[in-house]
């Protein structure tokens, strides 16, 4: 069971306290109505599936409840870093 560092609690906690929330840095368009079908499809459905470094969102759901971002290696399952929502991509 992986230990995950919550950037809000500033503690490493067991992964059962957390829930994955999909790819990170996919911002909801500010004006969805102005989006073309292709743009909206890309926002809704098209996601990266990298071998290696992956930016994803996690929620400390059984802890502080905050969503945050993480860089995880999809091959080794190791977390490179975690950082607060709203901070720039690492």
């Amino acid at each position: 069971m992986i230990l995950i560092h919550c950037p809000y609690c500033d503690e490493k906690r067991p992964e059962i306290e957390f829930a994955n929330a999909g790819q990170a840095h996919v911002a909801r368009p500010l004006d969805p109505s102005s989006q073309s079908d292709e743009e909206w499809e890309a926002y809704l459905f098209i996601r990266a599936n990298p071998r290696g470094r992956h930016h994803e969102r996690w929620r400390h759901v059984h802890g502080c409840g905050r969503f945050f971002n993480a860089v995880r290696d999809t091959v080794t399952d190791k977390f490179e870093t975690t950082y607060k929502a709203g901070e720039p991509r690492r």
Binding site: A27, R28, P32, S33, R59, G65, F67
Partner: protein, 953 residues
């Protein structure tokens, strides 16, 4: 020597004889014996039948790597454990063990015919033979194979034992308490580190237990470690898996070695998080591959030493050794000193050290260098062996009752590999050893490849003059894989060891190839004419040895499998005969049968009572979220399809929640208590999901909004009071709220007290009747409920359950999200476009409602269905077709989502999702069901009081 028990020696307690049973016969051993050592001491050589060929098999090893001697232990009803290794089962009074995979008896086994038919069972046999025709596989081959092949029988009764589990944290976890593990513990003992030392055997020592010279050191070390307050020693504990971040799973066997079943837990699962891990798992001796190497009486030489020195049991009276490694010589020297008769040493090498030769000479042992064993005589026990010179193949026969094999050593890198540490090949020992760690872990002792057993050569197979296609030289003893099978796989084109493994099943048995992987690799390497490192290495996966499901499940079974959530009113329902159902994790009253009523009769009565007088319903499970803050209305306006900003305090609104893809995910009636405060309700199953979704948008998309979300599901008990007499019943109990129709209209909320308890009183209806939902602090739920029951007696108040609630709502055309929708249904598909704010510029899911596939024709739409025969209640889930005369397979155009008998209407009603359903009003559809295809007319979804006259009173 009496029988096979040595006069002296061993760690057994000769003053404590133990009676036990094997295959129905009584035997005697001593405290400290394993089932294997005790039976060997009794002269038993036959322990089981092999997996595929039903060949007679004896003991091969002395530890948990034993591939052959799998046995079952019966501890009484429900306490039957198959596939235990006889070498790991401690004997105790009353032990009742059985051999496996034989019929009618171990000695006369019908399935042994498979051995004679061996030429018909090559590698990949099952894949090749039984793929066609399919019906033959299902009816003929599989049942026959299941009867003939396989290991022990699965238990058939529920396991009455209890299993404990615990979490533990330590600075240093040491796996394996042989000399290397003990040294690591002694070294760390003086620090402040919290240390856990784990070993799978019943006492510390590992290999030292078979070396009497080390026993004084072992006793001193054991005492020092036991006395140290920072060291926890776990014996009879198997570290079975090594997971991320130094998380180790281990099972401790607590009571199986004791005479009686006890009330204490049978096993305990340890989940250990360690700062550092030291692996001291040792090494496993490798068998040699030659014709007849699986005959009972052929075993590892190190095992024979363990049986003699640790258990005082001789594996035979006249023992020969076939070796490729110095360690075999040392083993038989130790055996000779313990009083075991040694017949000969056969070494595949042309030269060995003069020290070994001198010692053999001194002990009077015949030595045959540059020789190999080419055959073994005897079926249930070795009677003699055939040897020959490796150069000229000149042979000789040696009479003996036991043949030892010493093929070198394989470091146990299982846990290291679980942790994703890398391995490096070392040619001189012909084995993989730990290389780069992936966690904070190191390997010490023999599992790191460092040992002082001497040196040897690695041979894939012993040289033989025999026709290689006609001999059975076993590589994987447990899965009956021979060298021939591996060579055949290579001939048929398999190149990677991962493919060879799966084709031949080499290394795929319950022992995960502990004694077979490296021999298999060497044979494949020779056959492919490639170095071992070029053909790969199969992965080790947990568990290291098989573990019980009971230990892994722990307490999480039966009623404790998952929590059952109950409301404050649940106890009243139970006392009043409710039949319950589970909704998500909630236990809900489904109906309240009176004497002699079935569900149908009870539900009909409950429905009629609501429509004619008043019913009472426990709605406490509804999800509830308190939304507070200056931007609360703006936030809800962005989340829900409906407009919220104009909603006045004191009023309620039906809210429809979509996901961003435009599909309905939840709904519920919510109330505005104040300009900055809302009381949301969600579906019973959707509460957590909706709160998570709202938090997601609030935290990550709109962090500028000043809003707080709090789950209040468990803060309120909710009592729905529904029916024409609801107001009359409520009036005398409520204070501070004017209940009149004008002052308190439908879809309003008021705060006041009921029976003196503060309440948020909703005037809402999921039944179509005049109705209220009374929210009170949870602890008062049952008290208020009982007061309402008492006051309601004069109206013949009727408690109703979820089943009647479903019928009542369906009569009114109200959907249940998740039953009438399936995650691909838009508001328009569900006929809920009235709940979508057309003028809102944006809300979650709005843009998707214009997606091409959502505006395309032919989508499944929710409609009402009225069967032509009003007495037919369609099956929920039944498929719908347009033309029942079309050929099979028919084109399904939809399915029934809700279907009930409506006592109020005197007929059946149903909802269905039908492609293009909104365009089919009045049309006939066909619903094939078992026995008959039914006709139904497409209708609107509101079957009762369409104008809402009963609501607005």
């Amino acid at each position: 020597m009496s029988g096979y028990r040595l006069e002296n020696g061993g760690r057994i307690d000769r003053n404590r004889p133990v009676e036990f049973r094997f295959d129905g016969h009584s035997y005697q051993g001593f405290a400290g014996d394993t089932l294997a050592s005790a039976l060997l001491a009794n002269g038993v050589s036959l322990f089981g039948r092999s997996f595929k060929y039903h060949r007679p098999r004896g003991i091969m090893a002395a530890g948990s790597e034993e591939p052959n001697a799998l046995i079952s232990v019966d501890r009484g009803a429900g306490r039957f454990t198959p596939n235990l290794r006889a070498t790991s089962v401690e004997i105790h009074a009353g032990l009742n063990a059985f051999s496996q995979n034989r019929w009618p008896s171990l000695k006369r086994d019908f399935g042994a015919i498979n051995d004679r038919l061996g030429m018909f069972f090559p590698a990949g046999f099952y894949n090749k033979t039984f793929m066609w025709p399919r019906s033959f596989w299902e009816k003929l081959y599989e049942p026959a194979i299941r009867k003939m092949a396989g290991l022990g029988d699965a238990p058939t009764q529920e396991d009455p034992d209890i299993y404990a589990s615990t979490y533990a944290h330590c600075d240093l976890l040491i796996v394996g308490a042989g000399p290397a593990g003990i040294d690591a513990a002694l070294e760390a003992m003086g620090s402040n580190k919290r240390i856990i030392l784990i070993d799978e055997q019943d006492e510390l020592g590992g290999g030292a237990l078979a070396d009497p010279a080390l026993w004084p050191w072992l006793e001193r070390s054991r005492k020092a470690l036991t006395d140290a307050s920072n060291v926890t020693i776990l014996t009879r504990t198997t570290a079975f898996g090594y997971y991320h971040d130094n998380f180790i799973g281990a099972v401790q066997r607590l009571t199986d070695h004791m005479p009686d079943n006890s009330d204490s837990p049978r096993e305990k699962l340890w989940r250990v998080r360690a700062g550092e891990v030291v692996l001291a798992q040792g090494a496993i001796e490798r068998p040699l591959v030659f014709d007849g190497n699986d005959t009972p009486g052929v075993m590892l030489s190190s095992a024979a030493k363990v049986f003699a020195n640790r258990y005082g049991a001789a594996v035979g009276k006249s023992v020969a050794l076939m070796t490729a490694h110095d360690s075999g010589w040392h083993d038989v020297f130790a055996l000779a000193k313990a009083g075991v008769g040694i017949k000969a040493i056969i070494d595949v090498r042309t030269e060995v050290s003069s020290a070994l030769l001198d010692e053999a000479n001194r002990l009077g042992i015949n030595v045959h260098l540059n020789h190999s064993v080419t055959g073994v005589n005897g079926r249930h026990r070795v009677t003699s062996i055939q040897i020959c010179n490796n150069d000229d193949y000149l042979g000789a026969r040696i009479d003996c009752d036991t043949l030892l094999m010493a093929g070198g050593w394989t470091p146990s890198v299982h846990l290291w590999s679980h942790s994703k540490g890398s391995l490096a090949w070392r040619d001189e020992i012909g084995a993989y050893v730990p290389d780069q760690p992936n966690e904070n872990v190191r390997c010490v002792g023999a599992c790191s490849g460092g040992w002082d057993f001497g040196s040897g050569v690695i041979v894939d197979m012993l040289p033989t003059p025999k026709d290689q296609s006609r001999i059975k030289a076993f590589v994987d003893f447990q899965n009956d894989v021979t060298a021939k099978d591996i060579k055949l796989a290579v001939r048929e084109g398999f190149r990677s060891i991962e493919h060879i493994k799966r084709y031949t099943t080499n290394g795929m048995a319950t022992d995960q190839g502990k004694t077979s992987n490296l021999n298999g690799l060497q044979i494949a390497s020779t056959a492919l004419a490639k170095p071992v490192t070029d053909i790969g290495l199969t992965s080790f996966r947990p568990p290291y040895t098989p573990q019980t499901f009971g230990a892994l499940a722990g307490h999480a079974k039966g009623a404790l499998f998952q929590p059952t959530r109950t409301t404050n009113i649940d106890g009243w329902a139970a006392e009043n005969g409710a039949v319950f159902e589970l909704v998500a994790q909630w236990r809900r009253a489904r109906y309240f049968p009176k004497m002699g009523e079935d569900m149908h009769a009870a539900v009909n009565r409950e429905c009629v009572a609501v429509r004619s007088s008043v019913g009472i319903f426990d709605a406490s499970t509804l999800g509830k979220i308190e939304v507070v803050g200056p931007d609360a209305a703006e936030f809800l306006n962005r989340m829900y399809t409906n407009p919220w900003k104009a909603l006045e305090p004191g009023r309620c609104r039906y809210g429809l929640l979509l996901k961003e893809d435009g599909f309905i995910t939840d709904d519920g009636v919510s109330a505005r208590l104040a300009p900055d405060r809302f009381h949301l309700t969600t579906t019973t199953g959707g509460a957590a999901r909706v709160l998570n979704m709202m938090e997601d948008y609030l935290q990550t998309e709109w962090p500028d909004l000043d809003v707080w979300l709090t789950s209040t599901t468990e803060q309120y008990a909710v009592i729905a009071l529904q029916g024409p007499n609801a107001r009359k019943l409520l009036e005398p109990l409520v204070e501070g709220i004017d209940l009149s129709a004008d002052a308190f209209p439908h879809m309003a909320i008021r705060e006041g007290t009921i029976c003196g308890i503060p309440t948020r009183l909703f005037r809402v209806s999921f039944t179509g009747e005049l109705g209220f939902e009374i929210n009170v602090p949870t602890a008062y739920g049952r008290a208020v409920w009982e007061q309402l029951m008492a006051e309601g007696a004069k109206f013949d108040i009727t408690p109703y359950g979820t089943e009647a609630m479903h019928v009542l709502r369906a009569e009114k055309g109200f959907i249940i999200v998740g039953q009438d929708t399936d995650g691909t249904i838009t508001p328009f598909d569900a006929g809920l476009d009235w709940a979508v704010g057309k003028k809102k510029p944006d809300f979650v899911g709005k843009r998707s409602m214009a997606r091409p596939d959502i505006v395309a024709p032919g989508r499944k739409q929710l409609v009402g269905l009225l069967t032509d025969d009003p007495n037919v209640v369609l099956e929920e889930g039944a498929q719908i077709v347009a033309d029942p005369r079309q050929p099979i397979p028919m084109t399904m155009i939809g399915h029934v989502t809700s279907s009930y008998w409506s006592e109020t209407l005197g007929r059946s009603i149903a909802f269905a999702l039908v492609a293009g359903g909104h365009e089919m009003m009045g049309g006939t559809l066909h619903i094939p069901m078992p026995g008959k295809t039914h006709e139904a007319k497409v209708s609107g979804m509101v079957f009762y009081d369409a104008e809402g006259a009963r609501l607005h009173v």
